[in-house]
Symmetry: C2
């Protein structure tokens, strides 16, 4: 079989089929393979069952020249992947004494005797390439058959898988591909906020025929949509970049003010970069989002450059004590109201001596709603120096979705203020008030 | 084809194969189906490509009597699922005028004219059952062929999918199954913390042969492992509960002090229940976890009963201002040290007047590590009244994993204190100090 850009992924584990674990490994591998120009054509998930694993691997190898399996490489009683694939490739398992020594050493350093069952972790199918895994006891393995088809086995522990994928698998596949022909899949993603998916679709409808053979896909996100422009390999490699750039420019021309980033840019990181660039700091005052916005800001390494303090003021008493919200304001207007969110953000900004701030107060549910303020009602505020923007949104979804959407919308509000700091009517009104 | 308990799931979308979206729908459906006694035998993910969708659906229907597809039901240019499956089932698409009226009404209520492209949202394959979707514009659809094989189409928007699955699909499948024979899959999960997977495996090794035909699977989690005991349908239905209970008791007898819950119990919810039961409140003081612990506590509805305030003190200045940590302590021992985490937790408890508290300070990386305090070094503290437990852990993994593990380990520390409040040597030492 000719080596091409197509890869299939098989993730293995009853915990996946029972829904106890979300398959983040599949998403990670897919993303990294796509970024490296490979095309994942199908993903399959099967349970810890030797027959099902064998069927899935055989089926995948009949369609694709590269199959990556994750999971089922551990030393416990429900791990079948290695013996099953070894048998499919007619490669008997043999103990690799260097791996065994390294395993024993690993345990010795931790001051533990190696459990005997771990010897199987040093077994390697005859002729397989070993991908060293410094993060765990199960190494990666590459098997290749007479037709050149490749099966790669990786452990399912996320940080081990990620390390092996980036350090070993992608470089290995790039080398294996070197010299082969055919256009690689390439794409760009444009991230928008503050505009509905159907409105995006209408705005770009006339652009679609003009950018063929490139396609555009719509990916609804919390409080925004992503647009992915994809070149599927039809164009000559030399023309792909220009075609993608042209398509991106055409889309930007109609959606400009809603585009906050590209690729996997996170809105909290985009805001962080703007703050760092201007030497500004930010603080957060959260009620219904309960720390989620602070978490999103601090998800990013280096966020200590601009983030020093955040408070979660879930109780009314905390809003008074940490943010100086007046009890009278809350009594008159309620904790979920514009006057309260205004006092929250002002208090947060003043207490933390921060140039920028985000405040949120709302009803995440499932309880606590009323006909006047149903579940999902959230007041958001963003502040930059003396400017304040506030917005009320009633979000759909369950508790988790309401919290995620509220966090994203609050970040979007601050982004708008950072991007376009000229006072608008709303801001002028806010100042007068 | 006889209706059995086996279900296949097909998730559709280029965004999944490109790794831009994590497939939470697949996990949700799998979990709910398993909880209802159905067995998901395989999951497949394909892109927005008519041929690949058709192949996947045909292949799945040749193995299973029920296939559930999610995604590709929208009104945009990359949505193919409905026409493809309609063709497979030889059921032409026809506009359902009642659906169309409801769609127009939906737009009217929002004060928007319905975009013409949305008419396709009212098209239904002839003879298909419509599952109403009050949350969005794409309804669910059930197609059934002459052999009784069922294909269910659901939208990919998570909250729409969840609503349809719980309100329509599971009840429909229960009715379809009623009267059929064969044991359903049933399982119980036991959640542990503070013990390594291999240690769990060794402890329960002798139990495994005694509980056959039940099996036990190991699911490593952040700072702990889950154990899933499964009955795969071999036992008579009347014996399953007793067998699961017996297996659970045997496992509990060897792992007792490490078991914090069952099923999908979240450690933050377990702690919340203990606090509510005793009428206690909790506060958080987070540095490297940046709000994640507060978020986890407030993920749970009703958490305002015991959680009022949390602070994120990322900067040293914030640790002084909000928690009264002395500058001298930080200068002498560093911000990541036992003395600092002790002052953080005491300050948090005093300021919030809370009976319980959690404090965390550490280095989440990728920068900021040293040979003395490498990336991953975290000091955790838990307090209950005048008792304080502290612990230093060097966590493996990347920034995200270190933060997740630190949050879980900090919650585990407080859980230990809540469960076993008798002063241990550590606590006595802490009091003396």
């Amino acid at each position: 079989m000719k080596f091409d850009h197509n890869v299939e992924i098989i993730t293995i584990g009853d915990e996946l089929l029972l829904g106890q674990t979300i398959d983040t490994n599949a998403a990670f591998l897919s993303r990294e393979l796509a970024n490296a120009g490979f095309r994942v054509t199908r993903r399959t998930t099967v349970g810890d069952n030797a027959e099902n694993i064998a069927d899935a691997v055989q089926d995948a190898l009949s369609c694709s020249s590269v199959v990556i399996c994750t999971g089922g490489l551990g030393p416990t009683q429900d791990d079948f992947t290695k013996p099953v694939v070894a048998e499919l490739f007619d490669a008997p398992l043999e103990v690799d004494t260097r791996l065994l020594d390294a395993l024993r050493e690993r345990y010795r350093l931790r001051g533990i005797a190696m459990p005997e069952r771990n010897i199987c972790q040093a077994e390697v199918p005859r002729g397989a390439l070993v991908l060293p895994n410094p993060r765990g006891t199960a190494c990666g393995l590459v098997l290749r058959d007479a037709d050149g088809r490749i099966c790669i086995l990786l452990p399912g522990v996320p940080h081990e898988l990620r390390g092996l994928a980036l350090e070993e698998v992608i470089p290995f596949l790039r080398r294996a591909r070197a010299g082969t022909v055919g256009g690689a899949i390439r794409f760009r993603t444009i991230r928008t906020t503050g505009i509905a998916e159907s409105a995006v679709a209408e705005k770009i409808d006339s652009i679609l025929p003009r950018i063929r053979p490139l396609t555009v896909a719509f990916l609804p996100q919390f409080a925004g949509s992503d647009l992915r422009i994809t070149s599927w390999g039809e164009l000559p490699e030399a023309e792909v970049d220009a075609a993608l750039s042209d398509a991106e420019q055409q889309i930007r021309s109609v959606l400009q003010s809603h585009i906050y980033g590209t690729g996997s840019d996170d809105l909290a990181a985009v805001i962080g970069a703007l703050l760092r660039e201007r030497g500004l700091t930010i603080t957060t005052a959260e009620s219904c989002t309960g720390g989620l916005i602070a978490k999103r800001i601090t998800d990013h390494a280096g966020s200590s450059d601009y983030f020093g303090t955040g408070v979660v003021t879930y109780a009314n008493e905390a809003k008074q004590r940490l943010l100086d919200v007046s009890p009278q304001t809350m009594a008159e207007h309620g904790a979920v109201s514009e006057p309260t969110v205004r006092e929250m953000i002002r208090g947060a900004q003043r207490r933390a001596d921060a140039a920028a701030a985000i405040a949120v107060t709302g009803i995440a549910g499932p309880g606590g709603g009323s006909s006047d303020k149903p579940v999902g009602t959230v007041w958001l505020a963003a502040a930059l120096h003396d400017q304040v923007l506030t917005r009320k949104i009633v979000f759909p979804g369950d508790r988790e979705e309401i919290r995620e959407r509220a966090a994203q919308a609050a970040l979007a509000l601050l982004w708008k203020l950072l991007k376009d700091p000229v006072p608008t009517q709303v801001q002028v009104a806010a100042r007068i008030a």
